[in-house]
C-alpha cells in the first residue's frame, strides 16, 4: 500500500480533543463523520488542560487536536486537509475539489472566514459582558463578512443553483463556516434576529438552514441556543 510506514495506517484509532461549541472543532467532527470514520471524542476544559492536550499541541495548546495512530495533527483547516488526503477514494466525499484552481478558491475563502469571521466572533463571544460599542462593532463586522460571503456563495454555487459552497455536497468552505453556526444562533437570540439575515444575505440564510439540517451536522452543530449562552457566561466568568 502506498505510504505504508510513512505514517499511521488508515485503520488506526482516531481521537479528537475539543470543546463542544468550538467553531474550529465542529468542522473536524463533521468531516470525520462524512468520511464514515468513528472516533473517540474527548471534551477538554480549556482552563484545566489535560496532559494529553498539552503534550499533543505544545506550541499552541489549542483545540482541536486530531490524534491518529499516536500522532497529533493541529489546526482545524490543516486537520481537514489531512482527513481529506488520507481517506480519499471514489466512494468517499471529497472535502476539497480536485481542480487546482477550485482548490485555491476554496482555500482563499476558508482563509477569509478564518480572518474576518473569526475576528468578529472573538468580539461577540469574549466582549459580551462589555456589551458596549465594541460588541455592536462585532455584529457589524460579522454582517460585512457575511455580505462578502453571500457573493462568494453565489460564485461557488453557480448562482445559487448548488446547495453548498462545495457544490452538490458539503465541502471545505461549508465546514469552516458551518463551525460558527452554533454561536451565530446564540448571537441571534441576543440581537433578536438571525445573524445571517435572510433579508440581507438570502443565499447564505438558505445555506445555513441546509447545513443545520444535514445528517452529518446533527448532534455536532449546537442547536440549543441557551446551552451555548450558558457556556459563554461560564467562560466569561472564568476570565474575570
Amino acid at each position: 500500500m502506498a505510504g505504508a510506514g510513512a505514517g499511521a495506517a488508515a485503520s488506526d484509532e482516531l481521537k479528537v480533543l475539543g470543546v463542544w461549541p468550538s467553531p474550529f472543532v465542529i468542522p473536524v467532527r463533521i468531516a470525520l463523520t462524512m468520511k464514515g470514520l468513528s472516533y473517540e471524542y474527548v471534551e477538554e476544559d480549556l482552563y484545566n488542560k489535560s496532559a494529553l492536550l498539552v503534550g499533543s499541541n505544545p506550541v499552541q495548546k489549542k483545540v482541536p487536536v486530531l490524534l491518529h495512530g499516536g500522532r497529533a495533527i493541529n489546526e482545524s483547516q490543516i486537520i481537514l486537509q489531512y482527513i481529506d488526503e488520507l481517506w480519499a477514494g471514489t466512494s468517499l466525499p471529497a472535502l476539497l475539489p480536485s481542480d487546482p484552481y477550485e482548490r485555491a478558491m476554496a482555500r482563499f475563502w476558508a482563509a477569509y472566514i478564518d480572518d474576518k469571521v473569526r475576528a468578529a466572533w472573538v468580539v461577540l463571544v469574549f466582549r459580551y459582558n462589555n456589551k458596549d460599542e465594541w460588541w455592536a462593532e462585532g455584529v457589524a463586522r460579522a454582517g460585512e463578512a457575511l455580505d462578502t460571503l453571500e457573493g462568494a456563495f453565489r460564485d461557488c454555487s453557480s448562482e445559487g443553483k448548488k446547495p453548498f459552497f462545495g457544490g452538490d455536497g458539503i465541502g471545505f468552505v461549508d465546514l469552516v463556516l458551518g463551525g460558527y453556526l452554533g454561536w451565530f444562533g446564540a448571537v441571534g437570540k441576543i440581537i433578536g434576529r438571525r445573524l445571517i439575515d435572510p433579508a440581507r444575505t438570502p443565499l447564505l440564510a438558505a445555506w445555513e438552514d441546509r447545513f443545520r439540517a444535514a445528517d452529518v451536522a446533527k448532534g455536532v452543530v449546537p442547536d440549543d441556543v441557551d446551552k451555548v449562552l450558558a457556556y459563554q457566561q461560564a467562560l466569561l466568568a472564568r476570565l474575570q
Binding site: G3, Q81, Y82, Y101
Partner: protein
C-alpha cells in the same frame, strides 16, 4: 525566470510589491520550480492599479498570481497552487509527497506558523516609545516563536529535511526583517535561535533566495518610512 517569453494560455503574472515577504514567497517558489512569469510591481503607497483591484477585490493586497488571467490570492494558497497546477515543473514539489499526509500536515502547520514572526515583529516596530509593557509582550512572543522554529528545525539542513520545501520558502522572506526586529525588540536571533540563524545563512546561498530578497538595510529603511507614514515615533 521573470520576463521570459510565455504562452498566453499558461501565462503567469505576479502582482507584487518589492519588499513584501509574502510576495517573495511566491518569487522564490516560482524560481525554485523554474517557472517563467511576468513580475508586475504594484504601487501600494499610492493608488492601487485597476488590475490589482479587479484581481483581489476582497483584500486589494499583493501577492496575486494570475494564471491565464485567473487570480490566485493568499501567499500560502499560491504556493499550494504552484505545486498542484504544475506537477511537471522542473523543480521539486514544495510539499512532501501525497503518500505522506502527516508530513504534509506538519509542513502546512509550520508554514502557517511562520506568519507569527512577521506579526510579532510588526507589533514591535509599530509600538510608540512609551509602550513598555506591550513591547515586552511582543518581544516575548517573537522570542518564543523563533525558539519554536529553531526546535522544529533541529539539526536538519532545511525544515523539509534535505529538501528546500514549503516551510523554508514560507519563512525565509522574514530573514531580512530580523535585524530590524532585533533592534526594536532588543534580542538576538543568534542567541535565541542559533540553528535558525545558521539555516538563514544556508538559505541565502540559494540563487532563488539571493535573487528574491532585499538586504536588511533596505528593509530597515522601509520600516522607517512606514513609521513616518503612520506617525509613530
Amino acid at each position: 525566470m521573470a520576463g521570459e517569453q510565455q504562452q498566453p494560455e499558461t501565462e503567469l503574472v505576479l502582482l507584487d510589491f518589492w519588499v513584501s515577504p509574502f510576495g517573495q514567497r511566491c518569487r522564490i517558489a516560482l524560481a525554485e520550480k523554474g517557472l517563467p512569469y511576468e513580475y508586475s510591481e504594484q504601487d501600494l503607497l499610492g493608488a492601487k492599479s485597476d488590475l490589482l483591484l479587479r484581481s483581489n477585490p476582497v483584500h486589494k493586497k499583493v501577492p496575486v498570481l494570475l494564471h491565464a488571467g485567473r487570480p490566485v490570492c493568499e501567499s500560502l494558497a499560491i504556493l499550494a497552487y504552484l505545486d498542484e497546477a504544475f506537477p511537471d515543473a522542473a523543480g521539486p514539489a514544495l510539499l512532501p509527497s501525497a503518500a505522506d499526509p502527516y508530513a504534509r500536515a506538519r509542513a502546512r502547520f509550520w508554514a502557517a506558523y511562520s506568519d507569527r514572526v512577521y506579526e510579532a515583529g510588526t507589533r514591535l516596530w509599530k509600538l510608540k516609545g512609551g509602550e513598555a509593557r506591550a513591547k515586552l509582550q511582543a518581544r516575548a512572543e517573537i522570542v518564543e516563536v523563533l525558539g519554536n522554529l529553531d526546535a522544529e528545525l533541529g539539526e536538519k539542513e532545511f525544515f523539509g529535511g534535505e529538501v528546500f520545501g514549503l516551510v523554508d520558502v514560507a519563512l525565509v522572506p522574514f530573514v531580512p526583517w530580523l535585524p530590524s526586529y532585533e533592534r526594536y525588540g532588543e534580542f538576538s536571533v543568534e542567541e535565541t535561535a542559533p540553528r535558525l540563524a545558521a539555516w538563514a545563512r544556508r538559505c541565502a546561498e540559494r540563487e532563488s533566495v539571493a535573487r528574491s530578497l532585499h538586504p536588511p538595510e533596505k528593509v530597515d529603511e522601509f520600516i522607517t518610512l512606514l513609521k513616518k507614514v503612520y506617525g509613530i515615533e
